[in-house]
Symmetry: D2
Subunit: 329 residues, 4 copies
């Protein structure tokens, strides 16, 4: 029985707590949130106690923590949890600043605690199956990777302002996907970014429409395209080209119904957004974390993965600002 404390009782925290309950072999003992009502509701639902960070981390019975609070609290919580010797599941990103990320990694390394970074997409059944087929050589060595990732609609401007920008907030998932699929680290990033969805985004200093190119030392190439708005819903696709063929993973739809009428043959739009599309991925990533902690396996998505995604996001941002490709070490 693995005992958990969870920081954050908002939308994503609620999902993690429910998935934790469904894994079995775990107990959610504490919930901590700046919003007492949210903390109380979630704690009540799972038979946990509302408490504060110090109490939660100070309880030696706690084995692991879930960090699902706002991004600006992640680093502090990781460092504190590491010092307290807890296994850590942290929502992406570790932090918006690479310097802060490195402090977290140092703390985790020093404490020798496992850190899992919540790149949930690696656990999407279709994406995981694509990766497994790459790994078993279905298309031979990878040559090019294309990641399509488009949100159904703009988040509130208030969110955009604190998000760290589109690359750190949105593309970060796609940087992780590209690294994971390339099988080699990118050594250079080039990016274009525009405001085509809403000029208010640009006034807030951000982009809403980006394209990225990356290459690896051996000459593999990756492309990412993002938009903050897709009229047809959440567009999440992977495409990998290798010496022996091509692997695609497409969108999922609510139903398989198809209508043929005088106008066209039409089918469902993709599932609306990440809560729908990645419901299984959220369950699977938490199960993988629990399994890795219990069975002392290496974390399937670790501290270095969290760091590299931020490194690539910063490089893309620098490329956007300078108009030049940016080397990545």
């Amino acid at each position: 029985m693995l005992r958990f404390a969870q920081f954050g009782a908002g939308r994503i925290g609620t999902i993690h707590a429910a998935n934790l309950a469904s894994t079995g072999a775990t107990q959610l003992r504490y919930v901590v949130d700046v919003n007492p009502a949210a903390a109380a509701a979630l704690a009540a639902k799972h038979g946990a106690h509302v408490t504060d960070v110090a109490t939660a981390l100070g309880d030696p019975a706690i084995d692991a923590v879930i960090i699902a609070s706002s991004t600006d609290t992640h680093a502090e919580l990781i460092i504190a949890a590491a010092r307290a010797g807890k296994a850590i599941f942290c929502e992406k990103p570790i932090d918006l600043s690479l310097k802060r990320v490195d402090q977290c990694l140092a703390a985790v390394k020093k404490a020798k605690v496992p850190l899992f970074v919540g790149f949930n997409r690696r656990f999407d059944p279709s994406f995981a199956a694509l990766h497994a087929r790459l790994a078993r050589g279905d298309i031979g060595p990878v040559e090019q990777v294309i990641v399509t990732s488009r949100d159904p609609g703009l988040p509130p401007l208030s969110y955009i302002k604190v998000s760290g920008g589109q690359f750190r907030d949105m593309t970060i998932h796609d940087f992780d996907m590209a690294r994971w699929l390339l099988g080699e680290e990118p050594v250079e990033v080039f990016a274009y970014g525009s405001c085509l969805v809403d000029p208010a985004v640009g006034k807030a200093g951000d982009t809403d429409t980006v394209m990225v190119l990356m290459k690896t030392a051996s000459g593999r190439q990756a492309h990412i395209n993002n938009s903050r708005r897709a009229a047809y819903g959440y567009d999440q696709r992977l495409e990998v080209h290798g010496a022996k063929g091509r692997l695609l993973a497409g969108n999922r739809t609510p139903t398989t119904v198809e209508l043929a009428d005088g106008a066209s043959v039409s089918a469902d739009k993709p599932m609306y957004f990440f809560l729908e599309r990645y419901a299984e991925a959220y369950r699977a990533e938490l199960a993988a974390f629990v399994d890795a902690v219990i069975n002392q396996k290496p974390m399937p998505v670790g501290a270095e993965d969290g760091r590299m995604a931020i490194v690539l996001a910063e490089a893309a941002l620098k490329s956007l600002k300078t108009g030049r490709p940016v080397k990545v070490n």
Copy 2:
């Protein structure tokens, strides 16, 4: 809080109990099964008590029952539960004999208790969406219905021998689908049946490969094709033609991965069998039953639906034996 007793703790009973738990607003109080170990395990999992039929039905605190025991026990349990005034969720079929079905319906009518027959496919998200679009007129009046329903593999011969035959055991779902989609009652049934999968099935007096035609009074037509074996998995599709177009609902796949290589462009086979394909349907049907009981709504799949499916199965069997179309009243 609706209190339940459940009869049957086997594979499908385990699913119903889990789905019951997930509906909220319900409590599973009793589990009854001829296998004490199965009953104990399921009861333990859901905080229920193992008991016998008389005790379960005799407890005035019990509001509703789930009948998920073997088919030959359904009728007796329905009659007993009706007399005890319980709301009844019964796995299909009500009984293999129409006479016995009618006795059940009489008991239910007399006791004025609601009876829900577990035609889970009506609650499959794709099939439900297709039906909703029919209902709102997307393709105008229905003209022809085609139901494709093929199992991945033969059940054990021991099962086939007590199953009541392919029409009553397997096609029964498709008879319900056809009625539901036609929007009118079939008035005649014609059937062909062969043993093409395994001659042992024929020796046991059954078929493994059937085709059915049905028509309604206004001239609407339906076709059903069934096989006990589909090398590629569970093939479950609906096709409806109307004056203004065509609606299809296709198979679902585990993933959306597609491989293009030197041989072909290939994708996943359909989900393996009913537990995978209809997982959501099982959840939704139980939620619909609970909702109907709590809010005193009409049962979405009622006693008459259960009866008509058996009527059509018997007609198909008679058609197969006589080589002629059989009228249905």
Copy 3:
């Protein structure tokens, strides 16, 4: 150089003449039609002469004839062409009356001339590829066949009145498809027919919406569904189930364009009607006829195929009238 006379200069005759020209190694020498203007136009286009039946058949330089005139003239022309020793390509059907068909077959047999019946669908690239894969055993022995064949819209009532009825005029192609795919002759036919598209069709003594079941001696089964009206265009699909899998051949579309918008993900309707969908099939069947004549190969679709399709159509009509299955010898 194979020299041709062609009877019929209407829509389908124009297509055959153009395809004949594209085969090379042929020359269209005569065109005969009751409409002098049509005959003159087609003859002019291909450098042929307008003439009458007697002259065309009396010219010993003529090797082969294309019969693309109205159905009621087919039998007489076949018999005359056979007596004149010409190789014969005849549009389906040979005749609407089985008795007349048998007279044609006797004449052809006596004269030892080759007769090709224009079941063009066997030459559709997708249908031909499906059949080739059946033949090479991709899905093992055939168990069930489903033929979907739906026209985009009702023909004029004047046409329906002389068409011989839906079974002889429309389903005849599907009877041929079913025989070809079953790999065994049907021994029994059962049919439903309704007037759901237009009551005027019923007043003219015909149906517009039919479903057929057939079985073979070994228990293989086939289903055909037809409608004279599909709002979304020409629906032409084959589905074959065997011991090792399933083969489908679907519709073809004008383009591969797909639109995803706020409403749905939509694609093209199927190609509009037979001239579009079967353009390649018409070319390929005539090339196959020419090849068979020149190289003295057996006709790929012969007299017996033309006869059996009529036998099945008559059986279906008798089934519709009697309400019973009809044996086929």
Copy 4:
């Protein structure tokens, strides 16, 4: 009746001559080729005469020329044909050198003759339909364009050496597609290129695997991915994102046959290469040229289009060499 001279009787010249014949209203009078046998064969097929450039261009009866000879002869022939006042259909590219392209354009402008550059893909039925839907506003203003273009296999090294490199030889089509779809001129190009298919290509100074990004003045973005080798055949797809949705145009397949078996559900690979995939496009582009000449319409793909594709190819090559984005004026 438009009279043509054609330069080049090789593979693509043979296609153009056949398509010319099928347009009607044209006559191929002269064929010129460095290979006398090829010229004679093509001339014989179409009732034309073999001659030399001077004679062909000197004949005042010639209205138009088709330039389908080797790339290094295009510019000279364009200039000569322009001086002779002929309408010009020229295979892409105009020339590998921008300077030479500009000389051609000057000659054409001075002579006021129409010049059509053979960007055949604009006439592919799917791509043309996608463009038409963009133009009518189906997805609102364009935001991002993705062009996927992958050849089935490496051309001979001897070809690669004289091809002008992958950007000028292969990507040139995709630069044209991107411009056409963006609806604005690119102002900057960034490119990566590698040798992942065959190191011999690299030794010859070329790439076989490239990715390109481009942006327009208003911030629209385009991505191109190319490989000289796709194990599954010719991969030709367009994807356009706009404010109101997404348009895709996918690959075409030889048939619609789909096999479901114990392994997967599999379908045809894409059509093998450009001769198969773009057969209709080649016909349509020549018909468009003939129509524009006869009816004095503007050329649908003109001199400036031919020039801009070379400008973008040169910019991509410069980007590859310098490692930096390159401005385009």
